[in-house]
C-alpha cells in the first residue's frame, strides 16, 4: 500500500471541525424563521382575548341575576344566552354555551351563582365551572 503523506494533519483536522461548526450554525439559522412563524401562529390561534371577554361578560351577568326569577325574567335570560350561542356559532364558528344558575343562601352573608362556560372552536376547547359569590 502506498504510504500516504501525513503532514499537516492538524490543519486538515481544524478545517474539518470549523466546517462542522458552520454547518450546524446554518441548520440553526434555517430553523429560526419557522420557529417565529409557528409561535406567532399558535398565539393567533389561541382565543385568549375572546375567552377573557366572554368570562367577564358571564360574571357580570351572574352578579346581576337574582335567584328564583319570574317566568318573564327567565325567558329574558334565556334569550340573552341564546344570543351568545347563535352569534358565536355564526361569527366565531364556535360552540359556545353559557349557563348561569343563581342560588339564594339564607344563612350566609352572600348568595352564589354557578357559571358554566363551554367553548369549542375546533382548535381550542375551554370549559369552566365557576362559583361566583355575590354579597347580599
Amino acid at each position: 500500500m502506498e504510504r500516504m503523506n501525513d503532514e499537516a494533519q492538524w490543519i486538515v483536522l481544524m478545517g474539518f471541525i470549523v466546517s462542522i461548526g458552520i454547518f450546524f450554525l446554518a441548520v440553526i439559522i434555517s430553523q429560526s424563521t419557522t420557529v417565529g412563524q409557528t409561535t406567532s401562529e399558535a398565539v393567533l390561534e389561541f382565543p385568549k382575548s375572546e375567552i377573557l371577554d366572554l368570562r367577564s361578560e358571564a360574571l357580570s351577568l351572574a352578579n346581576e341575576w337574582k335567584a328564583n326569577p319570574s317566568l318573564g325574567e327567565s325567558a329574558k335570560r334565556a334569550k340573552i344566552l341564546e344570543d351568545i350561542r347563535i352569534i358565536a356559532m355564526a361569527r366565531k364558528n364556535a360552540v359556545l354555551t353559557l349557563s348561569i344558575s343563581p342560588q339564594k343562601l339564607d344563612d350566609d352573608p352572600f348568595d352564589l351563582s354557578v357559571v358554566t362556560i363551554h367553548f369549542n372552536n375546533g382548535v381550542t376547547v375551554y370549559d369552566e365551572i365557576h362559583t361566583e359569590y355575590i354579597t347580599k
Partner: protein, 194 residues
C-alpha cells in the same frame, strides 16, 4: 482471477466521505430555499391583533367598579353620529395611533371597519349593522380625518371582537336596527394596514 489493485484505499474512503457530506449539504440547501417574508411569519399580525384587542378592552373598561364603559355607551348610540360613531372613531383610532409626545407617528395608516352583529329573534339568524369605519369619517370630513381610506395593503387584516350587553333601559339613540330588548351584541372590528 485478476488480483485487484488495493492501492490508495484511504483516498477512496476519503472520497466517499466527502461525497456524502456534499450530497447531504446539497439536500439541506435545497430544502431551505423557501423564502420567508415578514408578512408570512404572522408576527406583525399577532402584534396588530393584540393592539386591537387591547384597544377594545380599554374602551370596554368602566371608569369605576360597576359603572358603564365608554364602548357600552357608544354602541347604545350606534345610529347617532355625535353620540356614537364619532366618539368611537376618535377614541379607537386614538388608541391605535398612540404617539410619543407631540411627534407625529410615521405610521397612521391603520384602517378599520366596526360592525355590530345581533340576533334577530323572529328568524333566529344573525344580522349586522356597520357601526363605523375609517373611510366613513374620511368621506364626511376629509380635512380633519385625512387618514381614512379604504386602501388595501399587502399584509392580511386581523379581526378582534368584543361582547356588548345592550340594555333597553339605558339611554340609546333612535333607529337602532336590533330588537329593543335586553340582549348581547358582538362588536367585530377588522383592522388592516392600508
Amino acid at each position: 482471477m485478476v488480483i485487484l489493485a488495493d492501492d490508495a484505499q484511504l483516498y477512496t474512503i476519503e472520497g466517499v466521505a466527502a461525497g456524502m457530506i456534499m450530497l447531504l449539504t446539497a439536500y439541506l440547501v435545497l430544502n431551505t430555499t423557501s423564502v420567508f417574508t415578514p408578512g408570512d411569519v404572522h408576527i406583525v399580525d399577532m402584534q396588530l391583533e393584540q393592539t386591537v384587542s387591547d384597544a377594545l378592552a380599554m374602551m370596554d373598561t368602566p371608569d369605576y367598579a360597576g359603572g358603564r364603559s365608554n364602548l357600552d355607551r357608544y354602541v347604545h348610540n350606534a345610529t347617532s353620529d355625535a353620540a356614537g360613531k364619532q366618539p368611537f372613531h376618535n377614541m379607537f383610532t386614538g388608541y391605535l395611533q398612540k404617539k410619543t409626545g407631540t411627534l407625529d407617528t410615521p405610521v397612521t395608516d391603520l384602517q378599520y371597519r366596526a360592525v355590530v352583529y345581533y340576533r334577530v329573534e323572529a328568524t333566529n339568524e344573525t344580522a349586522n349593522y356597520t357601526f363605523s369605519s375609517s373611510s366613513y369619517w374620511h368621506d364626511i370630513d376629509p380635512i380633519n380625518y385625512p387618514d381614512g381610506r379604504d386602501y388595501l395593503g399587502r399584509e392580511p387584516a386581523v379581526v378582534a371582537t368584543r361582547w356588548v350587553s345592550y340594555d333597553k333601559d339605558h339611554s340609546h339613540s333612535v333607529g337602532l336596527p336590533w330588537d329593543n330588548r335586553r340582549q348581547m351584541l358582538l362588536l367585530e372590528v377588522m383592522v388592516w394596514r392600508g
